[in-house]
């Protein structure tokens, strides 16, 4: 499983999302289930799978599928 597959799998685990649903519009605004608990679950899985410890500002900024990708890139994880 490559890093992108691992990243997509986080959204499958948290929201039950299919790969074809994930993209620019997959965000807090458009996904009704995306609340702060789910956001923390995404962060927790990102940290565990990619062996990171994210800063509070990253945790707060992780409000979309794309934002999560940017946060991973900022922390040296290539997707």
């Amino acid at each position: 499983m490559n890093n992108l597959d691992k990243y997509n799998d986080i959204f499958a685990q948290v929201f039950g999302a299919k790969v074809e649903e994930l993209g620019d519009s997959y965000s807090k605004e458009n996904v009704s289930a995306w609340d702060s608990v789910h956001q923390l679950n995404i962060i927790s899985l990102m940290e565990e799978i990619f062996d990171l410890m994210l800063d509070p500002e990253d945790i707060m900024a992780c409000t979309s599928y794309n934002a999560g990708k940017e946060i991973l890139a900022k922390n040296g994880i290539e997707l």
Binding site: S44, E47, E48, M53, D55, P56
Partner: protein
């Protein structure tokens, strides 16, 4: 009691923190002893392999995060956080030095909460952990001439209770210890005379030893206290009875 457990202890340079680090190591824990200075004692402790000194300022978030990541890398987990580092002051309300007060809040409250935030994220993954925060009896009762210090320790108590509620679902226990008057080296050298009358008010008739507070830390860190969370436990020779 702590075989196989990994502990991070702040304020380990002296007093309660040092006594706790030694006691945890005696009980089988791997201890990361943190303080801004004063960790030379580790080299002669007989526990050089299981007590790892880390000199840093806990108000330096970057350094704290690096330390937590180091522990995660070396041990893969953190089982115990003992937030013992703290500043103390004795000032009447009209004489509060607000620069000192802000610094005290940074050390006693903000850094403590940041350490809880970081370590609890690791503990949540392993679905276990014990966080011990050093409060004070004055945080619950107040004290004439210690408004700023008691306010900071009151915040520690509130933070402990809120964290316990938030982290219970991850099986992370969060408790606070509220010592009375403790006979640290500094207290004995500088303040014992000033507080001689108050020492007479202690039903046990003496100050607590740092090692006695460390014993309560050990209990709260161990599985012997598995079902205890959100508590503020007094250890004060009966002065708050």
């Amino acid at each position: 009691m702590l075989q196989g457990k990994v502990a991070l202890i702040t304020g380990a340079g002296a007093g309660i923190g040092k006594a706790t680090a030694q006691l945890f190591a005696q009980n089988g824990a791997i201890v990361y002893a943190v303080d801004i200075k004063g960790l030379d004692w580790v080299a002669d402790s007989g526990f050089q392999k299981t007590i790892i000194p880390i000199e840093l300022n806990i108000c330096d978030f970057h350094a704290v995060k690096e330390a937590v990541l180091r522990i995660k890398k070396e041990q893969g987990k953190i089982d115990i956080l003992a937030n013992i580092a703290g500043l103390i002051s004795y000032e009447f309300m009209s004489m509060i030095d607000f620069d000192k007060f802000r610094m005290m809040l940074e050390v006693n409250v903000v850094a403590l909460i940041y350490l809880m935030q970081l370590t609890s994220r690791l503990m949540a993954r392993q679905h276990s952990g014990s966080i011990i925060n050093m409060a004070s009896m004055v945080g619950a009762k107040g004290a004439k001439g210690q408004l700023s210090y008691s306010a900071s320790k009151g915040a520690v108590i509130a933070a402990t209770k809120s964290a316990a509620k938030e982290l219970a679902e991850h099986a992370i226990r969060v408790n606070a210890i509220a010592p009375g008057m403790v006979g640290s080296d500094r207290f004995k050298a500088v303040l014992a005379e000033k507080f001689a009358q108050k020492i007479n008010d202690i039903p046990f008739g003496r100050l607590a030893e740092p090692e006695e507070i460390a014993q309560l830390c050990l209990f709260l860190a161990s599985d012997a206290s598995m079902y205890i969370t959100g508590q503020v436990i007094g250890i004060d020779g009966g002065i708050t009875m």
